[in-house]
Symmetry: C2
Subunit: 349 residues, 2 copies
Amino acid sequence: MPEDKNNYNKKTPLSELGEFKLIDHITKNISIHNSSTIKGVGDDAAVIKYNNKSTLVSCDMLVENVHFDLIYCPLKHLGYKAAIVNFSDIYAMNGHPKQIVVGIALSNKFTVESVEEIYEGFIMACNKYGVDFVGGDTTTSPQGLIISVTVIGEAEEDKIVYRKGAKPYDLICVSGDLGAAYAGLLVLKREQQTFIANPNHQPDLNPYNYIVERQLKPEARKDTIEQLNKNKIIPTSMIDISDGLASELLHISKNSNVGFKIFEDKIPFDTQTLDTAEEFAITPLTFALNGGEDYELLFTADIKHHDLLKNMQNVHIIGHIVSDVNEKDLISNSGLAIDIKAQGWDSFN
Amino acid sequence: MPEDKNNYNKKTPLSELGEFKLIDHITKNISIHNSSTIKGVGDDAAVIKYNNKSTLVSCDMLVENVHFDLIYCPLKHLGYKAAIVNFSDIYAMNGHPKQIVVGIALSNKFTVESVEEIYEGFIMACNKYGVDFVGGDTTTSPQGLIISVTVIGEAEEDKIVYRKGAKPYDLICVSGDLGAAYAGLLVLKREQQTFIANPNHQPDLNPYNYIVERQLKPEARKDTIEQLNKNKIIPTSMIDISDGLASELLHISKNSNVGFKIFEDKIPFDTQTLDTAEEFAITPLTFALNGGEDYELLFTADIKHHDLLKNMQNVHIIGHIVSDVNEKDLISNSGLAIDIKAQGWDSFN
């Protein structure tokens, strides 16, 4: 919680305010960005109005010690990330997030100030992406912090992109770079272990600033959606990369009933990701395929858009769709075809 | 879990299926009821389409050992109740629930069969109320079960009822009867204590069947909304009674900037609630004012509707609105004016 020095020493127990005053308190900084938001926080339900647009709805839950560790994750970043993760789901449908509702359950170890910081993160993300915070539920938990976010977005019906439309010969593209969030997580976990062994240890995270930020404070790919729209490209299928490239490719393969061929040398990495992979003696490919939490977009598009896509900022063509649903190949730098299997995030294992 | 005998002995660990197979498995029984639901479970987001209607959104979180105790709450009922609680919020806006998204976090003590039972409850509620289950998130928790439900409803914009429209002389009405859910909870807690002391004890819950059902498997007041609509009555303000009558009256008072006068002898009780109150030596008024979880509707309406409201099934006029915001009176059977204070559910205390 280093951001808000003024708040740092205040420790108001939640019970001092009670639920209703807490809600009044934390929602007073919320501003409304969209004309579709008729009524936000403060009644039984928020009121949203759409004209001739389709509504998109998505929901994600983040659980302490499953999805995040408060030892290295500042609360403000956590609120920010919880919002971003959900915005990303709406962009992955070629839509725009417009409202969020947030459920938070937290134990007595949290104070009013800690709830404020989580909400600050939500509001910061909402302000940056032009999304309205319209309601939610705040309650206690016997242990730890649980955040549940539902996002509501809009899209023109004929422009919504599902996971199911990929066709043979379509190009397979990803935005940004991959594997960075997982590389950042490895560094944070190592620092945590070092800190446990020696609490006086001062970590130098400077050489890892990009990958650590990718883990703690990711962004959603609004810019890619805007670029595609500007170039009049409607992807044939799209998904956001939350569980690793392998898992997302398999989703598109299953839903579109097609196979794919991607190329190791086309997968985009940041230098810090490559350096960290070397440091940990893990191939960066593993970070990209199975790491997850990159919140980049994976999409397929008709080959006629090849030149536009090739020149698009932050977009990389990594392969193409094939008709045989059993062909799920990564062509390695040495020319070997490796069968892609999901080994991504599965919270039950 | 007595409902589903065939499932009773199966204990498949969650890790055996993994997240994606679990989702496939539990969502296969979901059917779609509304033409506004274009795409349900199975992509980054659900797709919903509205034409010239307003969208209502509400969110509630239920946490094990805070909001429910699995010792006396069957999982199927829990799913049912979690849905109902959210439908109730939409009816309280004079709208109709159309879709839900559900986030569930659960620890390793739960099996695939237990998740199935929770979902069965959701699907049962959705089928009964004509609501579509369109998506969600299922993940692990280090401890216990957390359910987060977001409901999306629709309403005609000029018929949406907020908490803020109550005017002096408006009638104050409630649906159904009050205090039963809390009476049911007291009985269940007593049985739990008896069971702990003597595990061979066979509880006879028959004399309490109504109030126990009100606690474990409540219903939402779709019928009241339909009756009001049929009689062309648009309430001036409305809220559902989740935290007790006192707390909800204070919400309407605060939001509408008016006071109120209600009468003890007008508050509707079921006989089982009255009998249980006597058994526990607590005045039934306490059950109604501070008990909560009744999920009845509290609304105000113009006095011109008096005769229609008086003859409406399951609707009771319990008082009227006054202009002085500081007058928050319950007139007792002995004629005393008692100042109403919220002592309802506050999960932080």
